[in-house]
């Protein structure tokens, strides 16, 4: 008894798009269901953390140079947190989402992309809300180059995603990385220019700091707020974009060679 094959065939891209949109839906609903005050509650935590950081560090630092200290610190803290969150969450993606691979179209990379999209959206809104608050307090609009800010943000998120794919595979092969990577993120916080500007560094130290795409993105975004904020030559957008492309390519290459391994129990 032969039967026609039912179900309309759709392309791989459409399947992936459907899966990612379903995962984003699930992620958002879960976050909203786990906090009070509904949708607003989701933003209260990161906003609160940022506000506390900003208050403490602006009190310590005082106003410096061309860029408002609150904006200076906000760029550092929000972008670093974005990078850190995407990377760490990807590292834990296999464990956190194991039950989802029960549905055949869901692949590990989809969970990483969906989480990355949700985190990026969340921190993009946090960044906008805090800048608005600062603008209102200063009664002055200070964002000179919005596209540059957006590009820095997207490049950093994509770099973190590529790194996240590598970490996901590595963490699955070597479970001890689950302890090690969060530890390694702490020194990264100190060398990522969250508190300092690269133009204030001595020339001999600069190359040891500027290789890091996180520093690049943070410094470029400060420049986007105020073009008078000076950047050393070592900080450049093409370098950041190259890092992003490299990170994504290597991440995808490693992932595609290991997808089967990730899905084997």
């Amino acid at each position: 008894m032969a039967r026609p094959i039912r179900g309309n065939a759709i392309s791989g891209w459409q399947v992936q798009r459907n899966v990612i949109s379903a995962l984003v839906y699930r992620e958002l609903k879960t976050r909203v269901s786990e906090v009070r005050f509904g949708v607003l509650g989701v933003f209260i935590e990161p906003l609160g953390v940022m506000a506390v950081f900003l208050a403490i560090f602006s009190a310590i630092r005082g106003n410096r140079g061309t860029l408002d200290v609150a904006l200076f610190l906000m760029c550092g803290i929000v972008l670093f947190t974005l990078f850190n969150d995407i990377a760490i969450r990807s590292l834990n993606a296999m464990k956190a989402n194991e039950a989802l691979f029960f549905y055949r179209p869901v692949k590990p990379i989809d969970t990483v992309i969906a989480r990355g999209l949700v985190e990026s959206g969340l921190y993009a809104i946090v960044l906008l809300v805090i800048s608005m608050a600062i603008f209102l307090m200063r009664e002055q609009w200070m964002l000179a180059d919005p596209p540059l800010l957006a590009i820095c943000f997207i490049c950093l998120a994509a770099t973190a995603l590529g790194l996240g794919l590598i970490l996901m595979v590595a963490g699955h092969r070597y479970p001890s990385l689950h302890q090690f990577v969060p530890l390694a993120m702490r020194p990264l916080w100190f060398i990522s220019g969250v508190f300092f500007s690269t133009s204030a560094l001595p020339a001999w130290l600069l190359p040891w700091i500027s290789w890091n795409p996180v520093v690049q993105a943070i410094e470029l975004s400060r420049h986007a707020f105020n073009p008078d904020y000076v950047l050393p030559e070592a900080i450049s957008l093409p370098y950041l974009v190259t890092c992003t492309a490299l990170s994504c390519c290597i991440g995808l290459w490693i992932y595609s060679n290991n997808e089967r391994l990730l899905l084997t129990r």
């Binding site: 179900g7 949109s21 039950a99 029960f102 055949r104």
Partner: protein, 231 residues
Amino acid sequence: MIKVSNLSKSYLHKGKRVSVFQNLDFELNSGESVALLGRNGAGKSTLLRILGGIDQADSGTIEADCSMSWPVGLTGGFQGSLSGRENTTFVSKIYAGHDPELIEEKVRRVEEFAELGVHFDRPFKTYSSGMRSRVTFGLSMAFDFDVYLIDEVTSAGDERFRKRSKEVLEQRHEIADFIMVDHNLWGLKFHCDRALLLHNGSLIEFDDLEEGIATHKKLLENPTQHELVAA
């Protein structure tokens, strides 16, 4: 048609390879439903998971020209803090795509089948096992697959749910095939034409379901009677 050749699966347990089954070969034609028999731990669910594509075999190939469901009746993939409706929407988005009306229709079908009333909007973790079965079974049947992998679906749930799930399975049986695991042998007799018996890592095919069940029962009584299988 599903063609399985040379399929082997093992797990790594404390550094040692433990084999589940080796070199399975079988073919399932479209239009026939099979019962998967074997004692607890024989590897039935593992085989279903591999057929469903959610676990990978060590070696061997599966060729299939039909769509296969996820193992019906398992609650994996449901988020406890989300409601039945939200979990259903999530799965519908994966399988039904971008069309909001289609997704809504699927969710409505599940809601009608589950008959949970207000509980459909309460967190899934508050559900009893019978309520969970109603939602997961309703969800699986809301989608059209060529082959349904059914793992012990009717064991939980009350009389009404069993009766209605039986009706739904009957209807679906007219247009789709089943690969069933069920320790309720009567249910198997009702839906299946053939039997596959997993024993000691190998697989025996029975063209006659009754014969398969008889051998299965003998092996349950006396698991070391390997000559029954060799015959």
